[in-house]
Amino acid sequence: MTEQAVPLTAMAAGLMACHSCRKLHRDNGKRAQYCQRCGDPLHYRAKKSLSRTWALCICAAIFMVLANIYPIMTVTYFGKDTHDTIMSGIISLVREGMAPIAAIVFVASIVVPLVKLVVLFWLLLSLQNNWKMNKRQCAQIFRILEFIGRWSMLDLFVIAILVTLVNVGNIANVTGGPAATYFATVVVLTMFAAHTFDPRLIWDLQDSTE
């Protein structure tokens, strides 16, 4: 099989798939076209996908910095207040000997959002500057990104549970911190960013020789 031929994209063939119900339509030349089956608007590529994703990614990056500077949780133990940021919370888990839990929280709260933002920025840059990329790898990476996004919420759920459970007045008390709001915003923004990015744009990249 000759691998050198460029695969035909749907856009080149004049075909559009509805993003909701996946029905294929032939381009009939009108400016606004709608799916015959479910009524959603049809586009070759989502409108303003790149600019919306850029905006959401930049906001998410700003909030990500804020979420890691401010404390996310305040633990009061025998009258002494300890303000924990995400990172210091993970380190204290390691010190207490719960390394596997610390690893889970580290992956969910720091690695996942960071990787998501870095990969999205990298995809956006490669699309804007028309770099040569292995398109299939890009598409696969993007799908993985969509999948792992929701797991960043783990830390917020843990805090919500801890705040209710550990409530013995001044002896032992867990309260939330400002970073909780910022981190919640980061998760929401990155999920929206993965949603506004139209992965079909990857097919418009130049052919890679990799």
């Binding site: 929701r150 759920f157 915003t185």
Partner: protein
């Protein structure tokens, strides 16, 4: 589709107990504190972190509930041959909400909290936890039993019959 209907109804039945009955009870220094998912959100909102409370509420309670209701509606509509327009709008909403139902992440959160607090006091799992696990299994089964393409084929069929 029948399986989807059965599982989604089971999920709706399990939903209220899973969220109201206590999941974990911590007994520390003579005082015992009970945690339910609703209470966690109420406490965070009370402390002033209403945005985080809203997002946690949406992702762990509202979105899974809406998904279950939508699946019940879609599978009922499919089996009773309701109008295609209704089925298609519900299916579209379900696909939008799909990534926002974070029940399994919540489950992992409970596990992490359990392991974290294990040494600090007496941690007693409650009835709500059993309901929670059952609900998780039901929701996962329901989502995997649901085939959106079946619904879209039905919508196509009903449009062809009309035309």
């Amino acid at each position: 589709m029948v399986r989807t209907l059965a599982l989604s109804l089971a999920g709706l039945l399990l939903f209220i107990p899973a969220n109201i009955l206590p999941i974990l009870t911590l007994e520390m220094l003579g005082q015992s504190n009970v945690s339910t998912s609703v209470q966690g959100i109420v406490v965070m909102t009370y402390e002033g972190y209403w945005w985080m409370g809203f997002i946690v509420a949406f992702c762990s309670i509202v979105a899974p509930l809406l998904k279950l209701l939508l699946l019940t509606g879609i599978s009922t509509g499919y089996l009773l041959h309701w109008k295609g327009a209704l089925l298609s709008s519900w299916t579209k909403w379900y696909q939008h909400l799909n990534e926002w139902g974070m029940f399994d992440v919540y489950m992992l959160g409970i596990l992490v909290s359990y392991i974290k607090l294990r040494n600090d006091g007496d941690l007693i799992p409650g009835v709500g936890l059993l309901c929670f696990i059952a609900l998780l299994l039901v929701v996962s089964g329901c989502a995997s039993a649901f085939d959106a393409q079946q619904v879209w084929a039905k919508v196509d069929q009903s449009k062809a019959v009309k035309a």
